[in-house]
């Protein structure tokens, strides 16, 4: 094999699994180390730089980082990355003086944003400091979008939302609440320099089976959650059936319990393992004694004397192949479940009734706009989409990343700079060596298991709708949990012409990820490793030929715990531990670069 090009940013970036997995590329290991040092405000600011809403995300993020966390491959459970983010947010000092500020002198460009959800707010966060005037149109009388209307307060308190949204709006955005945009044409006619659509995916999917329109006790999940959030709905029947088993279903069932229901069942069409809800949301719901009923497919609503009395389900049986895929299914019977209310939580759709179809903004056949995945521009130049509005419902952290990218595009668009000429990501490496066997990070492996989040006890938590269930980690839990992080950003960097092939690193590596072997093609080389390749998608390092024997040093990054023992054992410092820092360009950086380029041209 050819020597691996580690100069290529992507190699080291991929080694930091969490940061690679995070849509906004949050520098997780660095913020965890800052927390370990008690530098909560710094940890908060580092987070804010990439994900904008650390307090919110530290509670309700979808956490794509956790399933990919290396710790989960070395032992059972990943690091509690999300919970640690909350630790930074909860313990931060007054950071207001460190927030970005908008200059007094504006740049003369005006941007319209549709919706005050996390996508639009991120765009505002990135553009205000550059001197843009941002006008936010929001249909409701509150900011936050689904974060406020759908994510229940027992998971995300309003105060946390307010604080972090205010940081952005207080830069001087022109926020217009209770102002729905009813016509895109009219909005375009107002002469904004660019428009960002962050209006979300506001339509709950319906279930068209017999009886659907015969009762007012059948609710569409996201609308129902919204009416609960705004206090329009204050109660529900004793027996409730939730249809669907995604994250919305989890919020619906837990909300029902707080509105007076005492028998809540979540009805799933498929078996466990095929659920859309995250494991932790399922756990939290089941802890509250919600029953999850599998293999039941809704057939009809049953009404007696015009009153909803229950639902009839088909009992399902599935054939599952060796890869865990459903290959066949059949109905084996039927079953009736009595209930007072039904909540449909089977998904969301995009809906843009307010965008005229003759403006040049193209939509596909699912009513999803055609949006460039890099620039977030629609087919009408100057109109950008992001968040759930762009590619259908996702989550907050994706909406934030869309916002960052759209902000870069909007800024380039307003300065007539090509949208696709974007700065590459960069990586900085700096040795972590402090002394003979001293490193600038805690390199010893801590075998502790993942800490368990303490919850408000079951009796008390139902008393009010907005009692936050998760209490946050205790100080002792924080101390242990931070040590579970494997510091994957402290990279093992190899210099082949220093290696004397003494095998010291190979012998000491606790996870057998190093091998010195004769070079060969990929298949052969991978067969000659000290430990088998378990995750073929993990980065794989091959050195240049070694001095003495022309063999090569090979590293399978999969299980490396970044203990630094290879570097400690190496007599010639051929291995070194180096901290990698990823440089991710934001609108501010792109803008500065573009200006510099202009000046160079002019000069």
């Amino acid at each position: 094999m050819k020597p691996t090009k580690t100069e290529d940013t992507e190699y080291f970036h991929q080694v930091v699994d969490c940061q690679w997995g995070c849509p906004a590329h949050t520098d997780v290991p660095e913020y965890i180390r800052l927390i370990a040092l008690g530098r909560f405000s710094d940890a908060y600011m580092l987070n804010r730089g990439s994900n904008v809403f650390p307090g919110i995300l530290g509670r309700v993020c979808d956490r794509p980082c956790e399933p990919v966390c290396r710790r989960g491959r070395v032992e059972d459970k990943p690091v509690a990355i999300c919970r640690l983010k909350r630790v930074a947010a909860d313990n931060r000092g007054d950071i207001r003086s460190r927030l970005p500020v908008a200059p007094k002198q504006k740049n003369g460009k005006r941007i319209a944003l549709v919706g005050a959800g996390c996508a639009s707010l991120t765009v505002v966060n990135d553009l205000m400091p550059l001197g843009y005037e941002c006008v936010i149109y929001e249909a409701l009388d509150k900011t936050g979008g689904l974060m406020r209307t759908n994510i229940p307060a027992f998971r995300l308190p309003a105060s946390v939302l307010d604080e972090e949204i205010d940081y952005i709006v207080d830069m001087g955005a022109d926020l217009r609440l209770n102002t729905p945009v009813n016509s895109m044409r009219e909005l375009l006619d107002e002469g904004y320099d660019a428009v960002f659509v962050g209006s979300g995916a506001p339509k709950g999917k319906n279930l068209n089976i017999p009886g659907r329109n015969d009762s007012d006790r059948i609710h569409v999940g996201i609308q129902w959650l919204e009416s609960v959030a705004f206090g329009h709905t204050e109660s529900i029947g004793k027996k409730v059936l939730i249809i669907g088993v995604g994250n919305t279903a989890m919020d619906c069932c837990r909300t029902s319990l707080r509105l007076g229901a005492d028998d809540v069942k979540v009805m799933a069409r498929k078996p466990r393992g095929f659920f859309k809800a995250s494991d932790w949301e399922l756990e939290d719901a089941e802890e509250e004694r919600v029953e999850i009923v599998v293999n039941h497919s809704p057939r009809e609503f049953v009404l007696r004397d015009g009153k909803l009395v229950g639902m009839m389900f088909d009992l399902m049986d599935y054939d599952i192949d060796d890869n865990g895929r459903i290959v066949d299914s059949r109905v084996t019977g039927e079953k009736f479940f009595p209930c007072d209310d039904v909540v449909l939580a089977i998904g969301q759709d995009n809906a843009f009734p307010w965008i005229e179809r003759d403006l040049g903004i193209e939509f596909d056949r699912w009513e999803v706009p055609v949006v460039d995945p890099v620039t977030f521009e629609s087919t009408l130049s100057g109109v950008f989409f992001g968040g759930d509005a762009a590619f259908g419902p996702k989550n907050i952290i994706w909406a934030v990343e869309h916002g960052h990218q759209a902000a870069i595009s909007i800024d380039k668009y307003c300065r007539a700079s090509p949208l696709t000429e974007r700065l590459p990501r960069g990586v900085n490496l700096q040795s972590a060596k402090m002394g003979i066997h001293e490193w600038s990070y805690s390199n010893d492996f801590d075998p502790s298991a993942r800490r368990i989040m303490p919850h408000v006890d079951l009796k008390r938590r139902f008393k009010k709708l907005d009692i936050e269930v998760e209490l946050g980690f205790t100080a002792e839990q924080v101390i242990t949990e931070v040590e579970r992080c494997l510091n994957c950003d402290i990279q093992t960097v190899f210099t082949d012409n220093l290696c004397i092939e003494c095998d010291a690193c190979i012998d000491i590596c606790p996870v057998d990820c190093l091998t010195i072997a004769p070079n060969a093609d990929e298949v052969t080389l991978k067969q000659n490793l000290k430990a088998p390749v378990l995750e073929p998608t993990q980065p794989f390092f091959v050195s240049g030929p070694l001095k003495h024997t022309a063999r090569v040093m090979v590293k399978d990054e999969n299980l490396c715990v970044h203990c630094g023992l290879c570097a400690e054992r190496c007599p010639t410092a051929a291995w070194d531990m180096q901290k990698s820092t990823l440089n991710i360009p934001y609108a501010l950086d792109e803008s500065a670069e573009d200006m510099a380029r202009c000046q160079r041209k002019a000069g």
Binding site: N443, A504, D507, I508, A531, H548, L559
Partner: protein, 351 residues
């Protein structure tokens, strides 16, 4: 050395042996040797060999003398028995251990200083007794522990770190063992586990004295340019003459060998070693010819490695002494110590 111990992580790629143990269960304490010392590699080869042989660690006794090399038994098999003897006296302790419990697997780790200077007499007698043990000399041409003085294995013309030249003839433990009737004589290199691990396995299974002279560079005092025991020199001049594959009992010989080239040697417990000649002039059957071959290559500065001589037929110490099969440690006390009256009777016979 490192400042933190190798963490015990049971990862998904870790296999288990017939006893359900992982290789990590065969490790020992944290090494305090210099980073890059060849001895640490030998330790790891020993760990691998015992793991692969499915030997329960508590059936092993580790023995050593004094030196960096002699410290290493602390770094493997921490669930085994062990005795760290005074300088050069490990063979006596090993003889006692073997006499008391012949069922134990004995592994001795020594250095060129420990075995070829102060302990040369003891070493010679262990050979003579054909003591049933594996005896590893971690040979680096210097007294590592005492800061790098030339040892008895230093070659003529080799230079010390500060520049002085050795002018005395070296003692080669391999040639000595060949000449003295050793029954298992081998040489290897710490940097070649493919060769070393099967050799250690065969040595453990050999009934009698198994000697492996392992070239194991001292990275701190003897790894410089004019040294003949450095990593670079050893890699350049070592010549495998015979390759040994170890095949455990009840396992078929799977590797395909060319006719005439491979020579299986049956061990007393049914396992086999398949010897493969790498150099066609080498004669594994003939002690004298083999010795000549090693000697003539040594004169040219070449280091012949491999399992150079094996004889499974010679009786070991217990065979020669006709001791009972049961380990003395398991013989009931009354039998083992028949009392003062019996003792008096015995003494009477010699009056």
């Amino acid at each position: 050395m490192t400042f933190i111990a190798k963490p015990k992580i049971v990862h998904k790629g870790l296999s288990r042996n017939a006893l359900g143990l992982t290789i990590r269960d065969y490790e020992g304490g944290m090494s305090t040797l210099c980073a890059g010392c060849g001895h640490d590699s030998v330790t790891s080869a020993i760990v691998q060999a015992f793991f692969e042989l499915d030997i329960p660690p508590n059936q092993v006794a580790k023995l050593s003398g004094i030196g960096c090399s002699s410290k290493t038994p602390a770094y493997f098999l921490d669930a085994s028995h062990g005795f760290n003897a005074v300088h050069g006296r490990m063979p006596s302790i090993a003889t006692g251990a073997s006499a008391a419990n012949r069922k134990l697997y004995l592994i001795g780790v020594s250095g060129d200083g420990d075995s070829l200077s102060i302990g040369l007499g003891q070493f010679s007698h262990a050979l003579r007794r054909n003591l049933d043990m594996l005896y590893i000399i971690e040979n680096n041409g210097v007294y590592g522990l005492t800061k790098g003085q030339f040892s008895a294995s230093a070659d003529v013309g080799t230079k010390a770190k500060k520049g002085e030249v050795n002018e005395q003839q070296p003692i080669d433990p391999v040639q000595m063992a060949m000449a003295q009737g050793g029954t298992f004589v081998a040489r290897s290199f710490s940097g070649d586990k493919d060769q070393l691990v099967p050799m250690i396995k065969a040595g453990i299974r050999h009934k009698g004295f198994g000697l492996i002279d392992v070239l194991s560079p001292c990275v701190t005092f003897n790894d410089h340019e004019d040294s003949t025991k450095s990593y670079a020199y050893t890699r350049r001049f070592f010549h495998p003459a015979v390759h040994a594959d170890f095949v455990p009992p009840a396992e078929e010989i799977r590797t395909a060998y060319d006719d005439g080239e491979a020579m299986p040697v049956e061990m007393h417990d049914g396992s086999r070693i398949v010897l493969r000649k790498v150099s066609d002039q080498y004669n594994v059957h003939n002690r004298g010819a083999a010795l000549d071959f090693i000697r003539s290559h040594h004169r040219r500065g070449e280091i012949i490695t491999g399992l150079l001589y094996i004889d499974e037929a010679e009786p070991d110490m217990h065979g020669i002494s006709r001791t009972p099969d049961a380990p003395l440690a398991q013989v009931p006390f009354e039998e083992l110590c028949p009392g003062s009256q019996a003792m008096a009777g015995l003494q009477e016979r010699f009056r």
